[in-house]
Symmetry: C2
Subunit: 372 residues, 2 copies
């Protein structure tokens, strides 16, 4: 008897496809819609686990490709698994390694069976297959694990079609390779920006009874309009009663637009990456603390924000830290940015519970500009 | 009526010159002996104020030279002073800027009136005088401020003697320049490693009735034996009823050796700097987490340590963070190293209270080696 990953929908919005859910995992219930901060190398950059709890994080993502290469999944297993290793006792999701093999490794050769590649760290040669990816993810021990696939360029029809044919069988191999029954394996629908390929992929992937389904291959270069159009055709192809995960997304406006369309789970490196570049999310967009207009600004980043950074520090101090390249600048902006996205998800859950997601989203999106 | 900075000795050790004291400041009482972490640019590197509280810090040091250049002391004053700016509501000590002018600035010319120098940041020209240093320190608003002097090479007799003659008058100018009565101005005894010059300087400096006295010019290249010999002759020249501050020291063994000799206040960048290089203090010395022998080590840095790092994370995880150059590695090692030194001071205060500082020190020093 394995763990029962039964997704429960607790509220549906009145006018939109937005819904609130509860997804149980061995490390606690995930309330959806949820934003997962990314802890690539078994740490969300610049955050202690206590900081992560403090900003309200529940689900955290870690990257299989990085952890396989360093410190190694066998080592993590011997030290009690990823939760114990990084001291995060909440739910963890690992990706399959496929995306990073294609985006980070030095050279790679894909064949019907898997991918051979060279490490970006030391050039050493490695091979990932569906079976190997599942074995690594079992060693890491996350609560949610992902099927191994290819993330093709979203706007090359022939390539995407060929890629689907190659990697759909990999999903069956992933499912067959699973030996642990306490990890939820999610299948991934690919198909780029092409409705017919999304339909083909969704038909195949949802043909397997899995505890959740992901939408892959977006936020990789297509326009925002193409992304939303693809969500419009893809989300309805996924079963209502299973959680839907939009991989690698996103920016605040993306989160709102995707929750409106019925997506439940998100992850993105933006809040941590932007923080290291001195940028902070605010209602209406974001701004960079390097800007000289903040030199004497005694106000917090956001007067209405309840995070540790905004309840203690001025923009002038944060600007000073950023200009002086102090680690505390990274820490405080990361705290704020992750809090902002998690708080945005909370606001959307509340709006869904009250049947007013549409006016909330309209209000948010009408104010939103990419850079202020 | 200014603030009453009256130092109170609450316990004296039986066999040594060690003593426990209480030094009241506008931002709280400092229990001595105390170790002050260094927050050069208005931040103790990689630590939030909450982290600092968590490791038991009371007194924090900030550097006048750095803050004068960036963000500027006028800006800090306009934003409510350093405590508010960096959100540290405990006691703060600022140095005079003199030491950094001599160690960091690009070019400097010293004359009877002060020092002209170029910023290490942008090459801009600046001038510091005793009056200017006090004005900057009043803008910053620390609880303890330091007299402006030169920190000469400790083993060049003629230079040190000449420097004393030049900078003793500066102390009187600093005292005369003070306009705030809520900051404790400490005088600094110089004199290098030369007993006659230390005596000359101590006679002059303690001739002014100040709330505390510092020993400067040590830990700048002389041997450990020379430092201890200098403490042996200098500490007895300072009044018993005032706090004694050994500037820029030190390593764990230095702290123990100096507390034995009656020093009350310390600061040093070592715990934060070592952390950024992957080194951790332990009873008996320190070790570097980069060492391959920690690859699979599930133990904490120190089994007996009560810090956040040691109560949560394995050496293997910390080694992974250090090798992967993750900010969390800096954060967690900094937490541990500062906790270690502050806990060491607590242990010494307890030993002094029980009249057993000598056996405690013997036990500590017999185990101590610089690198393990």
């Amino acid at each position: 008897m394995g763990f029962d990953f039964k997704f429960e929908i607790v509220a549906k919005d009145r006018e939109t496809a937005g819904r609130n859910g509860r997804f149980p995992t061995p490390h606690g219930i995930i309330q959806t819609p949820v934003f997962a901060p990314v802890g690539t190398q078994a740490t969300v950059k610049a955050m202690t686990p206590a900081n992560l709890r403090g900003v309200g994080a529940t689900l955290v993502l870690a990257n299989t490709y990085h952890l396989y290469l360093r410190p190694g999944d066998e080592l993590v297993r011997k030290l009690g698994g990823l939760h114990r290793f990084m001291q995060w006792d909440g739910p963890i999701l690992t990706d399959s390694g496929g995306f990073q093999v294609f985006s980070l490794s030095q050279t790679r050769r894909i064949d019907a069976d898997g991918v051979t590649f060279q490490s970006h760290l030391d050039g050493s040669r490695h091979r990932l297959t569906p079976e190997k990816s599942i074995a690594i993810q079992e060693n890491l021990g996350a609560d949610i694990i992902m099927a191994f696939d290819e993330c093709p360029p979203s706007n090359e029809y022939d390539y995407v079609k060929e890629s689907l044919a190659r990697t759909h069988p990999w999903l069956e191999r992933c499912a067959a390779a699973q030996t642990r029954d306490d990890q939820a394996l999610f299948g991934i629908v690919q198909g780029g920006i092409f409705p017919d390929l999304r339909a083909e992929s969704a038909a195949f992937v949802t043909g397997l009874d899995l505890p959740g389904y992901a939408i892959g291959g977006l936020a990789v270069g297509e326009t925002k309009a193409e992304m939303l159009a693809t969500l419009d055709v893809t989300v309805p192809l996924l079963p209502r009663e299973k959680p839907r995960y939009l991989m690698g997304v996103g920016e605040p406006e993306d989160l709102v637009n995707a929750v409106l369309r019925g997506v439940d789970i998100f992850d993105c490196v933006s809040p941590t990456r932007l923080a290291r570049h001195g940028s902070a999310y605010v209602w209406g967009g974001r701004f960079n603390l390097r800007n000289a207009r903040f030199t004497r600004d005694a106000a917090p980043i956001d007067e209405t924000c309840g995070c540790y950074t905004c309840t203690h520090f001025s923009r002038a101090y944060l600007r000073h830290l950023v200009k002086a390249n102090e680690i505390l600048g990274h820490i405080l902006l990361t705290i704020h940015n992750i809090y902002f996205l998690i708080h945005l998800m909370e606001q959307m859950r509340e709006a869904i519970g009250q049947g007013r997601l549409r006016p909330f989203a309209d209000h948010f999106l009408s104010a939103y500009e990419e850079s202020l």
